[in-house]
Amino acid sequence: MGVASTVTMIPGDGIGPEMMGYVRNIFRYAGVPVDFEEVQITKDSTEEEFEKALVCIKRNGVALKGSIESKYGDPSFSSRNATLRTQLDLFANVLHCRSHPAVPARYPDLDIVLIRENTEGEYSMLEHENVRGVVESMKVITRHASERVARYAFEYAKRNSRRKVTAVHKANIMKLSDGLFLETCRQVAKEYPEVEFSDMIVDNTCMQLVSRPHQFDVMVMPNLYGAVVSNVACGLVGGPGLLSGRNYGDHFAVFEPGTRNTGTSVAGLNVANPIAMLNAACDMLFHLGLASHATLISGAISKTINVDQIHTADIGGQATSLDVVQNIIHDIQEKTKAGNWI
């Protein structure tokens, strides 16, 4: 079978640790040749612990991550999640928002891919208070970062036979910053004449998403609008419990639940939806080239949600997290028993 891959696992806060437990369990049943090197970062971690985790991810190249809670009341604080992304230069965040046939949502049959710039923009975290009561927060947009995320979006569209890329911006007001982003997207678009390119202002985008979402295909945008649009799109397909988020850089890849929630209010209660983290784990397996294992698990996930319909409360059901996991394991066992794999 070959050598096992080593991957960094960062459980994070809230429901992260219990989710990672489910991932390990399912990987065991599916015979996945992946070793996890667990390094924990929580809201109370020191700088050194954080640095150690980064070194670990750099060594392994790939990580599965839960969300780290932000202590935004603490003056010395800066977002660990955001810092991790910029330190590892994970410039593209990809969220594939797809409707599930058996999950209640207002709009069925949605299939939108969101590609969000992940290292700069409003998340540059450069702020200062020169005069008491007056704070300046810097949003930085560079041609370099805009170009590589735009290129990623068009390459993605081309590789996956998607027909249209829409750039989301507010260049009518932020003429220089978003203007640079938009102009860069336009330039890159010229190199991909087979993919249709359009642009839309972010407020209109949100309005369109909640009234006529099927017009969207692939969307590319700067960091903050990405946060807004991701959450809107995610809500439209049934919520944060299902989608996985992928973060790619030139050298490293980190997989996590798509909407990056810590789920602190439901931690340890056996009610959280484990699907988002499990889908993230599958995406990670695809990335590692372990397609057969990835397909085995994602098949079991799909059957659990769409056929057996074991749904946790967030998607309208009454199952516990364990019910969902056990159903997935059961399906995996059935398939491996029947020799339906490799």
Binding site: S78, E127, M138, T142, K175, L176, M207, N261
Partner: protein, 265 residues
């Protein structure tokens, strides 16, 4: 304030500066008779309208690197927070939610949030909560009934107010008010629609509801309610709907029916 039509930008800006219009208020309510997939929307977005991301301070540091400055100040944040609670009280609303991203923009949104918290303490009769922008977006498209009055800095307000308008059917029915220190300006937020101007076809609801907001601002609550009630009843009954709502009534017919209802009440 985001112009959907063309040509009035500089005038809008001049009026805003003249009266120091610091809070943009947009109530979004589901309209019976103009159904969308969202039936239970009743939120009000209150957006700080003078600073934040729209301060217009941008520069190119070196070729290909642009910096845009978001400005958050204590006076402006406090002012809009106070207005939000005052609005909630005078309009019988029970909860104010401060929308922010202080996990990322710790100092700027942190300052805004602090001002909201301090104002909340002075207004214990109104419930207060703080939520991340991401969470609000996620929840708003799934269950808008969990929100009441929302207060936030400029950009988030711009996006969220349009998001909420989309939930109830777009800008055609959305009123808005701009509150200032020197006065208040109430207006619809749709475009100027030059193609149907003067043809007795337009839907006057947005402007009418803006006028209702104006009456409430002037403490003429009874008159406001009578007109608002008549307007919603007319749309609900469906006999006199304008083209944009799927009917064939003229603007004057729609308005006459409203007037009829008012004189009957």
């Amino acid at each position: 304030m985001t112009p959907v039509g063309k040509g009035h930008r500089s005038l809008n800006l001049a009026i805003r500066k003249e009266f120091n219009l610091y809070a943009n208020v947009r109530p979004c309510r589901s309209v019976e008779g103009y159904e969308t997939l969202y039936r239970d929307v009743d939120v009000v977005t209150i957006r700080e309208n003078t600073e934040g991301e729209y301060s217009g301070i941008e520069h190119e540091i070196v070729d290909g690197v642009v910096q845009s400055i978001k400005l958050i100040t204590e006076p402006a944040s406090r002012r809009v927070a106070e207005y939000a609670f005052q609005y909630a009280r005078s309009n019988g609303r029970s909860k104010v939610t401060a929308v922010h991203k202080a996990n990322i923009m710790r100092m700027s949104d942190g300052l805004f949030l602090r001002c909201c918290r301090e104002t909340a303490e002075k207004n214990p009769d109104i419930k207060f909560e703080e939520k991340y922008l991401d969470t609000v977006c996620l929840n708003m498209v799934q269950d808008p009934s969990q929100y009441d009055v929302l207060v936030m800095p400029n950009l988030y307000g711009d996006i969220l107010s349009d998001l909420c308008a989309g939930l109830v059917g777009g800008l055609g029915l959305t009123p808005s008010g701009n509150i200032g220190e020197g006065g208040a300006v109430f207006e619809s937020v749709h475009g100027t629609a030059p193609d149907i101007a003067g043809l007795d076809k337009a839907n006057p609801t947005a402007l009418l509801l803006s006028a209702v907001m104006m009456l409430r601002y002037m403490d003429m609550h009874k008159h406001a309610s009578v007109i608002e009630q008549a307007c919603f009843e007319t749309i609900k009954e469906g006999n006199f709907r304008t083209g944009d709502l799927g009917g064939s009534a003229k603007c004057s017919e729609f308005t006459d029916e409203i007037c009829r209802k008012i004189s009957d009440s």
